[in-house]
Subunit: 270 residues, 2 copies
């Protein structure tokens, strides 16, 4: 079992990589291949678009690699996601791709291209307090598809996205087919008025209105408003679901924290 790390958004910290190497050695059930691109830096990004795309295409096309694990979020995977799925190499089919947050742009594009993707913790999560719990959960899915890693109330096809990322991929070529899925959303470091605005945008989409239901993960590190917004995140999401005729399925166990669970997307070409 060989797991490759690439960084389609921002650079991976050396300390995270070192701790992953130690976890790999201790577990002994997989081989970790940290692509050197993970440590490039070009302004905000883990190297220029060409380098990030090149590393991703390299591991996609390598038949010896079983899983591609996105090193961390931040911002930038959208800049290479469309190019990543042009003329997908045959070897890309037989692997699993995992990440969350900004990596959602890639999850969407790769899923749409018929590849096997899952929302789940990322290598840099190891730096959170208790972060080994998160990366081991991801590894337990990547290595042996342990059902205990899954979001506990999954029931049929599902997808998971950061709400702001989801809002920014609607109408782009990355937009997947949401028909009939449980759509799990979460967000981080936004004011509640932005959550409300994103829910307005997302629930107005006919594509989103085709979901089975929306379930709400954690909305963490909410930034202060000038005045109290007057509703909490669950009120906001339920209200926009009601306004748009989408079923609201309650809370979900995902978020930008060490408890973040795995949500495999259903592959459409199965």
């Amino acid at each position: 079992m060989r797991i490759a790390l690439v960084a389609p958004s921002c650079p991976l910290k050396r300390e995270a990589s070192d701790r992953l190497e130690a976890i790999a050695a201790a577990r002994g059930d997989f081989e970790l291949l940290v692509n050197p691109q993970c440590f490039l830096a070009d302004g905000h990004f883990a190297g220029p678009d060409e380098a990030r795309l090149g590393a991703l295409r390299e591991v996609m096309g390598d038949p010896s690699i079983d899983a591609v694990w996105f090193a961390r979020g931040g911002y930038g995977s959208n800049r290479i996601a469309e190019a990543a799925v042009i003329d997908v190499p045959a070897a890309a089919q037989n692997k699993l791709y995992m990440g969350y947050s900004d990596a959602g742009f890639l999850l969407a594009g790769l899923h749409k291209a018929g590849l096997d993707v899952a929302w789940g913790p990322m290598p840099q999560d190891v730096l959170r307090a208790g972060g080994e719990l998160a990366v081991n959960r991801a590894l337990d899915w990547l290595v042996r598809r342990d059902p205990d890693t899954l979001e506990p109330a999954l029931d049929g096809p599902a997808m998971a996205f950061n709400l702001t990322v989801l809002s920014n991929l609607l109408g782009t070529s990355l937009e997947p087919d949401f028909t009939g899925v449980d759509l799990l959303i979460e967000d981080l470091s936004e004011q509640l008025y932005r959550i409300d605005r994103s829910m307005f945008h997302v629930t107005a989409s006919a594509a989103i209105q085709s979901v089975r239901r929306i379930r709400l993960g954690r909305v963490l590190d909410v930034l202060p408003n000038d005045t109290d917004f007057g509703a909490d995140e669950a009120d906001i999401v339920e209200q926009w679901c009601n306004r748009s005729g989408i079923a609201f399925g309650g809370r979900a166990d995902i978020g930008h924290d060490v408890l973040n669970r795995v949500v495999p997307f259903e592959r459409k070409n199965r």
Copy 2:
């Protein structure tokens, strides 16, 4: 000439209203009607959706009113904009609607409904240093269509939007027909990575790809990134224009400041 103030987003400050009353008295060329809804407060908003919608519909339907001036931005006009343009009263046709920033959701919806709208300064701008300049510019357009108030390089049909607002109205029922227009954009209080992400989203839209060109107003109060982003706002906008095949028309004289110019939208039903 009667100008009505309503607040479809956040409450107007009393001090702004007082200063507007003084300006109206000094100018003597219009009558100011400050709808009491402007001072309501309900959490983040200038009263509940019903009150904000009710005040807007009241002034839209009042044949004695010549212009509707949105009191300020903030957030919230999207929550009432779709309802505002259902069964538009006949009296709504013979007026001009002005605002910017969050009011862009309404400008879009009202324009799409065939009404006369313009991007321009709002009453609460009077509280900025030098703010009388801004509100008098707006009034010079509202009262006497003074061409000196216009964005100086307007050349054919144009629209202006806050970039983040524009991103959030794409794909909703408020999305207007952008075909052939000069699209002026600006933004405020965002990190550059968010500007880049919004440009990705906006320029991926087929509707936006129908514009004549994009021109960039001011991007003010840029919030810091962890690391320097590596490109400035003009680089970002020009790059996404290039990637999407949209012409980039250079800078525009709009923004969240007292120099913000007027941009009338072309009315489609003329």
